[in-house]
Assembly symmetry: C2
């Protein structure tokens, strides 16, 4: 069965006895085609099972689309924000041949003004689509208003602002993340063990962590174990070892019975280090597969890490925009990424795992 190659526009034209121009007009709904020929052509498309060749189509069209990302600047080489950014960058590069170009804009998580500045830069770049982590609520709202005025589609990743005209939110179910953390915590503690929730944030803008904490507490409300467990939370607005030491020591002196700590962002390793230093045996749960976190997990100082596939978030955002550009396909508004539960024994699988990418055509001489 030497199945002859795919049917082309030519085939259809010949089949219906018209020129390829007419077929093209029908395919693109460009009008100016007599009803009967249109009908015949549509039939032929069905019969011969015609799909336009995506390569030839893109090549002929030659349209360039520019994607910009506006994400927090990674505060170190081992920062959470490296990951989604890498996902965006790498995937955009994959689509280079398909006319996708990409520029990254990073804002300073500590400076609202930086966000404003960079968001203006994004607008200046005149993008066809924007990928945004809207950590500053008010400033983000202003920004997306401008995007909407210019009819530029945008996608939220990592966190989102409700009730907006974003194309999609691609990121974790924050509340669910807290809930899952609580479930895991409860599975490794005794019913009456006290728990501490640590919010390690610099700016107070970001209310996501509250949502996470809410989810965490909700689990313990749901599970009507009539335990006498105490669940307290503290906020440490600094990532400096000194500050953390002071605050934690203050807390532990008052609450020596704390048996589990849940850190609501990716900085669990900082708390784990404190525990090691002070020889405290406390169960710990945190987020994200950062080098420091992994090290502490392997050393037994963190019990569970929950990952929200940050690389994938970036990767999917680009893909969604691409599909929107090319096929006018509207992605589902809410795309919650899986919350991966990771333990010492499974972490290496996640780190070694590399999905091959489409593009990356390099002349190999």
């Amino acid at each position: 069965m030497d199945k002859s190659r795919r049917t082309t526009i030519q085939d259809i034209a010949k089949f219906v006895n018209v020129s390829i121009g007419t077929v093209d007009r029908v395919i693109h709904n460009r009008g100016n085609v007599s009803p009967d020929k249109k009908k015949k052509i549509l039939e032929a498309i069905k019969i011969l099972n015609f799909n336009p060749n995506f390569l030839a189509s893109t090549l002929a069209l030659g349209k360039q689309r520019h994607i910009c990302s506006l994400l927090p600047h990674p505060d170190s080489t081992n920062s959470f924000w490296q990951l989604p950014k890498k996902g965006v960058k790498q995937t955009a590069a994959e689509y280079k041949d398909f006319g996708i170009t990409y520029t990254a804009f990073d804002y300073d998580l500590k400076e609202e003004s930086s966000f404003v500045e960079k968001s203006l830069a994004v607008l200046d770049a005149n993008p066809d689509g924007v990928i945004l982590a809207p950590l500053f609520r008010k400033e983000s709202e202003l920004f997306i208003k401008k995007l909407e005025e210019k009819q530029i589609p945008y996608i939220f990743i990592d966190s989102f602002i409700p009730d907006q005209k974003d194309l999609s939110y691609i990121g974790p179910d924050l509340k669910g993340g807290g809930y899952v953390a609580a479930k895991l915590m409860s599975s490794i503690l005794s019913p009456n063990d006290d728990i501490l929730i640590v919010n390690l944030i610099k700016s107070v803008e970001n209310s996501n962590l509250n949502v996470i904490e809410k989810g965490f507490r909700e689990f313990f409300n749901d599970s009507n174990i009539n335990s006498k467990r105490e669940i307290k939370s503290i906020t440490i607005p600094s990532l400096e070892e000194r500050d953390i030491n002071v605050e934690l020591t203050k807390y532990y002196l008052k609450n020596p019975e704390t048996k589990g700590v849940f850190v609501t962002n990716s900085k669990a390793s900082l708390i784990a280090k404190y525990h090691v230093l002070h020889e405290l045996s406390v169960k710990m749960i945190g987020f994200d597969l950062l080098e420091d976190n992994i090290k502490e997990m392997k050393d037994g100082n963190i019990d569970y890490l929950i990952s929200q596939r940050p690389f994938f978030q970036g990767s999917m955002a680009v893909k969604a925009l691409f599909h929107y550009f090319i096929y006018k396909k509207i992605p589902s508004k809410l795309q919650l990424v899986p919350l991966d539960i990771i333990i010492k024994e499974t972490v290496d699988y996640y780190m070694d795992f590399k999905e091959p990418t489409v593009g990356n055509f390099l002349s190999k001489n």
Copy 2:
């Protein structure tokens, strides 16, 4: 900054003052180019940062590659084997425009002869690459020998035969899967609770389950809790409710203290149903996100499911072959997929999660 479009072969030709033919010869290392021109062209490629346009390249080349899969026939619409197959099929369809065609061959898991028959059919189809789940060891070895004679590259998914010339193995670390299951089991049982390992298999050929069991036991050997826990295993060579009932009842009557059950394949739901029917409260761990398993997990009859990303295995196998075809890129020989630990609270995220695909160009009238 109206960044001029990408540099093309034309640009290079003009830059060096030669014809595109000569540039082409250099790019493809096809010889017959004077050394100095070659040098200049290579320099220009560097300077102008030239990458061949993948679209145009593929289009001009117009080469077709045929991929065949040889996987177990899904024994129901809700079978594990649906998943990798779907991954292969969908991804192959994505690459249709890139010249990839695909044919699926399914063999009967109960019949070695079926494997032989289908493997011959694969050879008849004259594929350019094969994706294979080598569940019958001996028959698989014969098959891949023939593939090697014909120089047809092949990739193992789901399980593999060691020391072969396969392009890659894409699948779980089976032993690691057992080990992880054990870790989880130990976290939900008391130190002295007895455990049962259930091997639900029809054919004895498949030694993978032994590897999984080995990993499971290894964990308890490693963790030198001097418990008096008993870990026994039984093999039930049937999926019929009757047979399972008989065997399990026989076992439980003799071992009433069993508190945890680990099922080494995707059929944990069958055991869970038995427990419900007989009102047994037993902790359970199994593999794979099948509908039945998910239901039992949501009902509280299965505590953990471990997923090995079956869809992705298929998807990645196609991508790896594609890259091998196009870029001659040899994938890493061992690509262990992450072992996702899934609980009632996270299962929905996995089910809802849909990665957008590249192709699927459908005229949307």
